[in-house]
């Protein structure tokens, strides 16, 4: 049976990714993760119900998986080494969180014999390390090393038209980029696609109260972004930021690749096994 796993927050992007995968796969398992500092993961069930109504309960499965120990490990792993080498770029909590999610999704796929994984990464959040195209390429390499395919089906979709002021502030620098804003890519936004598929009541719910009530809540992206906008970008260019971030995450991914290899080889006796909450 053709089955895929989707790292699922419950927001419009990952819901759209799941919907697009359901056109190609017989079954899709939605993996929502919980960890300290990530509140209300059960909010994701709202859009799961919508997907189940449209595609059927036999094709859509949802799991909420805790990431506590694994997140602590990824977050604290060699932190003074990375801090010395990359400075506060290592504080990018969203990158660490997403990397933990990838690691857990990869292990979940290996345990359940699933060979395709996806998420709702878009060009929208260009300051988030694991939403950057070069970092995503490294993540894809990590999956392929273990015989898995990692897809980002909504990466090239357009930006929503009316995003919140906060999003606009975060995006302001990129929009002034001469090379073009990420919003110029693609034709439809994820919200519009979901509306067309009959999965959303309106074409653009991003940034609305409804959007906040359908996914986990986390404000830990604010401090790294404050650092970048108030401090880092005063001295460095966005290209330098991408280059350094890719280098940092390449190092991290290489280390975790070794852990996964050990997990495949030793299972219960491996270090990774002890870090996984089941």
């Amino acid at each position: 049976m053709k089955e895929a796993a989707v790292a699922y927050s419950g927001g419009t992007d990952s819901t759209c990714a799941a919907a697009l995968l359901l056109d190609r796969f017989e079954r899709v398992t939605l993996l929502t993760y919980s960890r300290p500092g990530l509140f209300s993961p059960e909010n994701s069930e709202r859009n799961v119900r919508r997907l189940v109504r449209k595609y059927g309960g036999d094709r859509v499965t949802h799991r909420i998986i805790p990431l506590n120990r694994l997140y602590d490990f990824v977050s604290d792993d060699l932190r003074f080494h990375y801090m010395k080498k990359y400075g506060f770029l290592n504080l990018g909590g969203c990158g660490v969180c997403k990397l933990t999610i990838h690691l857990r999704t990869l292990v979940w796929c290996l345990d359940h014999g699933i060979t395709s994984a996806a998420d709702g990464s878009t060009r929208d959040l260009y300051l988030f390390p694991t939403q950057m195209e070069p970092v995503n390429r490294e993540v894809k390499k990590m999956y392929s090393r273990f015989g898995l395919v990692y897809e980002t089906p909504v990466y090239d979709t357009a930006l929503p038209e009316n995003s919140s002021l906060w999003d606009k502030i975060l995006r302001a620098e990129r929009l002034s980029d001469e090379s073009g804003s990420p919003g110029e890519k693609g034709g439809e936004s994820t919200g519009v696609i979901l509306y067309r598929l009959g999965l959303m009541p309106a074409p653009n719910v991003k940034g609305t109260l409804m959007d906040r009530h359908m996914q986990s809540r986390c404000y830990q992206f604010i401090l790294p972004n404050i650092y970048l906008i108030w401090n880092y970008f005063q001295r460095h260019s966005y290209d330098e930021f991408v280059e350094r971030t890719v280098s940092l995450y390449r190092e991290k991914i290489r280390r975790f690749g070794i852990l996964i290899e050990e997990y495949i080889e030793k299972k219960e006796k491996s270090r990774l096994f002890g870090l996984i909450d089941r």
């Binding site: 932190r79 650092y227 260019s237």
Partner: protein, 74 residues
Amino acid sequence: MGTHKVTGFSRFADWLRRGTAFFLCLVAAVLPSRFRVIFIEIIGWIFQLLYLWFKSLTGFLIRQLQEEKGGRER
């Protein structure tokens, strides 16, 4: 993309922003994972509240100015 340009702010305000960001990150950097999450979450809440306060204040000022302008035109 070029570096972030500060326009319309004093050098002191620029220094203050850079210093604040550096100090907050320095505190976060030395804390272990769970405490770092709590610290960064609190900072996130404070900035969200400041943002909402700023948003409502500017909204109020814009409304007042529009009413003033409407009154003068009448």
